[in-house]
């Protein structure tokens, strides 16, 4: 796993959490003047590998493996280095697995094991293993959103499930949800800023999360009060963010269309499968009334059945792997739009205050208050964070979709290969009999 961070941004790096000063962090931490921010212009060429893709992510066996990885870059020839790997932080690995059902008098729910391996000193131990339920993930996300409003928080799988329609405890549902939760945590762990958030730390290490719920509520209220008090209206969004917004809207639309197409294909395939099964049984029943043709017809029936199985496999794969990722990106887009709105807010606030201050200055030469500068810093921080996250998101999106679509192509190829093999072996059977007949004829 790796992350990318445009160089020069103060909010990245391995500083201990207490030293990272973020102007908009939660009230728990002391405010201090914003650091000098230099926003890197272009996108960093060494783009990070996608967060959360299982492709080449080895699950670390032990802490020693971790340390080895840290020293990896020293040994490697720069040419053989994976151009996508940014080697700054390979020091926090999380995994979600092992779903278990819990039945209590009040409710039934599923918990997942969250395993952490880390060399970071922010954590007391190098390894943790805790059990968490969906609620806890939701709590974490809310905390992150509140404490890091300038950053894009990865989405969670959908919260509400219609009880009558979907079986919350079916193997498939749990599996799909677990994969999404795993991705969620991995993306956060990969993020140069979010991964240092104390709430994440608590989530990964605390035995019991419940105590924090109350506190969370208070701080949440506090935050929203703060943001509402502003009430400034944005006049003009800078063009780069306009483009971002437009892109998000169009992309959202296209993803929605792709989702619909994929679902439609699954439906058509399911109906095709039904007819195909029936088709196979007709061959089998015909075989019953034939002598010479019995084996060939039974062969046909068997072949058709094999094709049915292959089709079933593909459809299942598509519904379990393809659709959830699409849906997740749609949620991601929503998150991004939210962050964009908050950014707009911070710009609006700054511009509003600035305008007011300028007017006052013109009237009675009151100097521009420090607050205005703080607002400017806030806004510029926001912009920088957003841009950085945007770049990361774009490159991750590219990798994710590349993988998703090639996966879809692979599954189709596999399906056709299986069918082809079945038909080819049937032909051999049919033609063997023919040559038998021919030799007996000529005799």
């Amino acid at each position: 796993m790796s992350i990318s961070a445009p160089r020069g941004l103060a909010s990245s790096g391995q500083k201990p959490i207490t030293e990272i000063l973020h102007p908009l962090s939660a009230a728990e931490e002391p405010l201090s003047p914003g650091p000098d921010v230099t926003v890197s212009g272009g996108r960093d060429k060494e783009v990070g590998l996608t967060n959360g893709t299982p492709v080449e992510t080895p699950s670390p066996a032990s802490a020693s493996v971790l340390f080895n990885r840290l020293h990896l870059d020293d040994d490697l020839d720069p040419d053989t280095r994976d151009p996508y790997a940014d080697t700054e932080t390979h020091d926090l690995f999380v995994t979600v697995d092992d779903p278990k059902k819990h039945v209590s008098t009040m409710e039934t729910y599923i918990t997942y094991r969250v395993s952490t391996k880390t060399s970071r000193i922010e954590f007391d131990l190098p390894e943790y293993s805790v059990r968490r339920r969906y609620q806890d993930f939701d709590w974490l996300r809310t905390k992150l959103e509140d404490s890091q409003p300038t950053h894009l928080i990865p989405p969670l799988p959908e919260k509400f499930v219609m009880k009558g329609v979907v079986d919350r405890f079916s193997e498939e549902f749990v599996e799909t949800r677990m994969k999404a939760l795993d991705k969620f945590l991995k993306r956060i762990a990969d993020h140069p800023v979010l991964s240092f958030n104390p709430h994440l730390n608590a989530f990964l290490s605390a035995k019991d999360l419940n105590k924090r719920q109350g506190l969370a509520l208070l701080t949440k209220v506090g935050e929203s009060v703060k943001s509402v008090a502003g009430g400034y209206k944005l006049r003009v969004r800078p063009p780069e963010f306009c483009a971002l917004g437009e892109y998000l809207d169009t992309f959202n639309q296209k993803l929605g269309t792709i989702d619909r197409i994929a679902q439609r294909i699954l439906k058509e395939q399911s109906e095709y499968l039904t007819e195909l099964r029936e088709y196979g049984t007709v061959y089998a029943s015909w075989a019953g009334s034939e002598e010479e043709l019995q084996r060939p017809l039974e062969g046909m029936a068997g072949c058709v059945t094999t094709c049915c199985g292959a089709l079933e496999d593909m459809s299942e794969n598509m519904s379990q792997d393809f659709l959830p990722v699409l849906r997740e990106y749609i949620l991601y887009i929503e998150s991004m739009k939210n962050v964009l709105r908050k950014r707009d807010q911070s710009q609006a606030e700054y511009e509003g205050r600035l305008e007011a201050a300028v007017l006052r200055k013109q009237e009675d030469r009151t100097p521009i208050p420090a607050e205005v500068e703080k607002c400017q810093d806030k806004m510029e921080c926001f912009n920088a964070d957003l841009k950085a996250d945007w770049e990361r998101w774009q490159s991750n999106k590219r990798q994710d979709f590349k993988q998703l679509l090639t996966g879809m192509a692979d599954k189709n190829v596999t399906y056709y290969e299986k069918c082809q093999a079945a038909w080819e072996s049937l032909i051999t059977v049919l033609q063997d009999k023919q040559t038998e007949d021919k030799t007996s004829e000529t005799n």
Partner: protein, 433 residues
């Protein structure tokens, strides 16, 4: 399925590609007496629309088919003379077939292609004038002629010969044979089926088999049509990917090209199903031929029932007449009869009358014995010849259907290969994203 007569001639598969120098065929499937096929090359070359007035003087449009024939020895020698040709419409083919069925009731007569399009899946037209339907029918008619002309018995028929060579005057010739009068009435045939007592077991089994064959082939045709329908849907929906990928590529930078090209492949995938399913219709036609063949087989079995029944009736009649004679001669009434009753009531008849009646009975018995002899021969001949043709039919059916299955599997493999190609191409594009 019989080969296209443009090649050599006879029947099925690779065997038929060998002609000896004298034009005779080396095909082991050719039997003695298939002289027609050895003498001429037959094909149904074209179809054309005509308009004309029909029997009730109404304007109608119909299709005619061009039958071309060439002497086989000319072909074998490499000469290429212009073929003789004439035009026939579907109803004339039907007339020919009906003639053959009546004249050769012990032969499983090859069927004609269907009159109306059935077992269509939604994209296929059910219109008789549709060019694809006409084309498939042309092929079917040619197949019919080739089968008939290569049949050891049917190929020698004069009417068949005239059908292929005399455009005008053929119809008159057919009617002159009086075959229509010879046709068994439906009622008679049905009656026989119900009332026959001792039909040959083998024929009954064969009749049962013909029912099974008909049922299974029609089930298969229906199931296949439904599968084709659904498969069409699956492929066509993928075409939507083409459009959305294209739209999406417009807002992407690096991903754009890959997406765009992948979209083209999705379009190609969606379009490929049309040809695939068109080709599969050929398989459906092969199945249909045997669906209709099943009926021809059943007709032969029912003819047996009829001959058996008539023999039974004739025998029964003879027995009862002999009994009557015995009663008359001995005066002992074994069975109840009106005559017996009236005798008792009104007294016996005069000896002269009895003599006259006895004489009449003797004549009738003699006739009856002749009839029984005839019917016995008729039945035995039918059984013998029919059984031979049924065996021939069985072998042909097994061979043809096995080949049809192989061809179907080959089509499926080709479809899979196309699928693999398209998706591999798409994958290449995705990798370049």
């Amino acid at each position: 399925m019989a080969d296209d007569g443009r090649e050599e001639s006879l029947g099925t598969d690779d065997d038929s590609d060998q002609t000896g120098a004298d034009g005779s065929l080396n095909n082991t499937m050719v039997e003695e007496g298939s002289t027609l096929m050895r003498r001429m090359e037959i094909c149904v070359a074209e179809a054309e629309k005509r308009s004309g007035k029909n029997a009730v003087s109404m304007q109608e449009t119909y299709t005619v088919y061009l039958i071309e024939t060439r002497p086989m020895d000319a072909v074998a020698e490499g000469r290429n003379p212009a073929p003789d040709c004439l035009w026939r419409r579907y109803s004339e083919f039907e007339l020919l077939r009906n003639y053959l069925i009546v004249t050769y009731p012990y032969i499983v007569v090859p069927p004609l292609p269907e009159k109306r399009a059935e077992f269509v899946w939604h994209k296929l037209s059910a219109d008789n004038m549709d060019p694809d339907f006409v084309e498939r029918r042309r092929v079917g008619l040619e197949n019919f002629l080739l089968r008939v002309a290569s049949h050891p018995v049917l190929s020698n028929d004069k009417i068949l010969y005239y059908f292929l060579t005399e455009e005008h005057g053929w119809k008159e010739a057919v009617y002159e044979t009086g075959f229509q009068a010879k046709a068994d009435s439906r009622l008679r045939a049905l009656s026989a089926t119900f009332r026959v007592r001792n039909p040959d077991k083998c024929f009954m089994e064969m009749k049962h088999y013909s029912d099974e064959l008909q049922s299974h082939t029609s089930q298969l045709l229906r199931a296949r049509a439904r599968v084709a329908d659904r498969l069409y849907g699956v492929y066509k929906v993928h075409g939507n990917y083409g459009r959305v990928f294209s739209e999406w590529s417009a807002i992407e930078k690096e991903m754009g090209d890959g997406l765009q090209s992948a979209g083209h492949h999705m379009d190609a995938y969606a379009a490929s199903i049309d040809d695939i399913l068109e080709e599969e219709e050929h398989y459906a036609d092969q199945l249909k031929e045997y669906l209709f063949y099943a009926e021809a087989l059943r007709a032969v079995c029912r003819k047996h029932e009829l001959t058996q029944f008539e023999l039974e009736m004739a025998s029964q009649d003879l027995i009862s007449k002999k009994q009557q004679r015995e009663e008359l001669a001995t005066g002992i009434v074994r069975t109840f009869s009106l005559k017996g009753m009236t005798n008792k009531l009104f007294g016996q008849e005069a000896p002269e009358q009895r003599e006259a009646r006895l004489k009449l009975l003797e004549d009738l018995i003699a006739e009856g014995e002749e009839t029984v002899k005839e019917k016995t021969i008729e039945r035995a001949e039918h059984v013998e010849k029919a059984w031979v043709d049924i065996q021939r039919f069985k072998e042909q059916k097994d061979k043809d259907l096995r080949e049809a299955l192989i061809n179907y599997a080959v089509m499926q493999i080709s479809m899979c290969k196309k699928g693999i190609q398209v998706w591999s191409n798409a994958k290449e594009c995705f990798l370049k994203m």
